[in-house]
Amino acid sequence: MTVSGPLASGRMAAIEVTDLTMVYGDLKAVDGVSFEVAEGEFFGILGPNGAGKTTTLEMMEGLRKPHSGSVRLLGASPWPRNSALLPRIGVQLQASAFFERLTAREQLHTFAAMYDVSTAQADDWLERVGLTDKADTRTENLSGGQAQRLSIACALVHEPDVVFLDEPTASLDPQARRNLWDLLAGLNESGRTVVLTTHYMDEAEVLCDRVGIMDRGRILELDTPAELIRGLDAPVRISVAAHLLAHDAARALPGVDHVDGDQSSVVLTTQQPSAVLTALAGQDALEGLQVRGATLEDVFLDLTGREYRA
């Protein structure tokens, strides 16, 4: 199956993935995946653990030889190790790949030296990821969020054209995740292409220009988060305080398909939210009003038809 979303008009493809497959024994970890990523795009691969995200990413980076299919990264093949390509790409791997017992600053300086980048530029990145006050802390003593920031700085210290981030917010607490989002959101501002894998729906929705939803080695759907949700044609759920609206009255409202609820609230399901909201306003029943549309999670559940295994 080939799923390919439209490229933003006039932009060159930074990455072209064609019919990529990886087989481990009997397991098809990646099963005929094709897509393109435009220059300057923030591209997300969303899926549960074991969906084949990391394997796809590793083939795109040139860490693994594809079983079949091809990858063109900035117009060249990343496999076998392409040293002309390496200075133009940045990678952040799942684990924190650091030298033992170095401080944050020493770590970044070492990576800078490998890319022939000045220490001043490295220190600049330390500031951009907000670790200046942790510069002399050893990486073992950094918090999970700080370590992820540092490894992102190590991936970006040489200002690469394309950067790959493999689950950068995995195992972080919600606070640290949101902090990291602010940093990640700005990465493609200067025309840099970003490819990110994640198993968080909200993360893909907030950060990515386009998202490929992946499960069992396949890309099931690929589009902008808004289009994916719109395409789902999912009903909107509106809830109001229970004492304002009897169930029967709710059912009688125009456009309401289904009524549900508990002691404190009544939940109306509808495909025409504007009609329902107008009617509710007419009855002065807007107290405690909540409107919840579909999310990427609903899209995912609809596509895979099963429980989300985060």
């Binding site: 040139g62 390496l86 799942q94 790949a97 650091f98 170095l102 300086h109 490998m114």
Partner: protein
């Protein structure tokens, strides 16, 4: 070059900041050097304790120089009661009790320590013989002198230092390589470096450079302490040990890489390296000389690279041999490196799956 320098600095800092690594590479082997150097260096047998019952003219009237020789061998204590003295000998508190009966010197000893008793009796009878010669008023016709076949300077420290140094180098090189390979693989640093524009040569070169530097630091500390505190004397060609140590470091790094390739965790890799190094150190004469070992053991030890490094270092550092002794050893060590390294490369995986 920039990358090589930065990687070397990163690896060196990683090593010297790891207290356990520094302890096992430098402090731990030094403890053995101090122990062996301290215990065995003073190899004079302790003086025999002699109880002198009443007046013993033979001892009391010794001329000054003979008396000095006598005191070097015996610790003389004067007692009056004969029964108490014999009791003390019986209990083993004293080695012998002597008394004079007329012109006869009688030594009482216990048979529980026959070697000691024989030594005491022999020494005493030698003094009696000397007294007889003096009494005859004649110059002695024959004289006797004992001489060791080895050079005067060959004390225990001379033998122990090269062996313990070889062990220390084998340990730090093998552990370092094993732990680095496993640690970098587990943290995915190995993968990360694969995607950085650095040549593999720079990475491997930096690791070798740091390990060799550590080995030379070990050598400097060992020789410094040995010479400063325990009277180690080096012969003219001792510097030939430097190329030998470099070859040995390469060889034990290859062994560490093999351990790192075989094991699945960092702890496992270090334990496996230990499993290789510890028995090898025993069989290679790092802790005790193998001269008395049976033939099959001698043969077995020749199959171990550390044996060759130890022998080579002993030859050039204390036996005064030169290039002719060092070259074949260097060749053998490099051959071991090639074989072990090849096996390690065959077994190498980028990640533990």
């Amino acid at each position: 070059m920039n990358a090589f320098k930065a990687l070397s600095i990163a690896i060196a800092k990683g090593f010297f900041r790891d207290k356990a690594s520094v302890f096992f590479a430098i402090i731990f082997p030094l403890m053995f050097l101090v122990l062996f150097g301290g215990i065995f260096n003073d190899e004079d047998t302790p003086k025999a304790e002699l109880l002198q019952i009443g007046d013993v003219s033979l001892i009391d009237d010794l001329p000054a120089d003979a008396r000095k020789a006598f005191d070097d061998s015996f610790d003389v204590k004067k007692v009056d009661d004969r029964g108490d003295a014999l009791d003390e000998v019986r209990k083993g508190d004293a080695d012998a009790a002597v008394e004079m009966r007329g012109d006869e010197l009688i030594a009482h000893y216990t048979q529980t320590d026959q070697v000691r008793a024989a030594t005491t009796a022999g020494t005493l009878s030698a003094f009696v013989d000397a007294a007889n010669v003096r009494a005859s008023g004649q110059e002695p016709k024959f004289s006797f002198r004992a001489e060791a076949v080895e050079d005067d300077s060959l004390t225990t420290i001379q033998f122990v230092t090269p062996g313990l140094l070889g062990w220390a180098i084998a340990m730090s090189a093998a552990f370092g390589a094993a732990a680095t390979l496993q640690g970098w693989r587990q943290s995915k640093l190995l993968r990360r470096l694969q995607l950085a524009p650095v040549r593999t040569g720079s990475i491997v070169g930096a690791r070798i450079f740091v390990t060799v530097a550590v080995a030379l630091v070990q050598m400097a500390i060992f020789l410094g302490l040995g010479a400063g505190a325990f009277g180690l004397k080096l012969t003219g060609n001792w510097w030939l040990a430097i190329p030998l140590i470099i070859c040995g470091t390469l060889c034990f790094m290859a062994l560490g890489l093999l351990a790192g390739a075989l094991a699945k965790t960092t702890e496992g890799a270090v334990n496996l390296a230990n499993f290789f190094v510890m028995p090898m150190a025993f069989l290679s004469g790092s802790f005790f000389p193998l001269d008395g070992a049976p033939g099959w053991l001698q043969f077995l030890s020749k199959l171990l690279p550390l044996r060759h490094l130890n022998d080579g270092m002993l030859d050039v550092m204390v036996r005064g041999e030169g290039l002719a002794a060092a070259l074949p050893v260097a060749g053998i060590l490099l051959a071991f490196t090639a074989v072990i390294g090849l096996v390690a490369v065959k077994l190498f995986r980028w990640e533990t799956v």
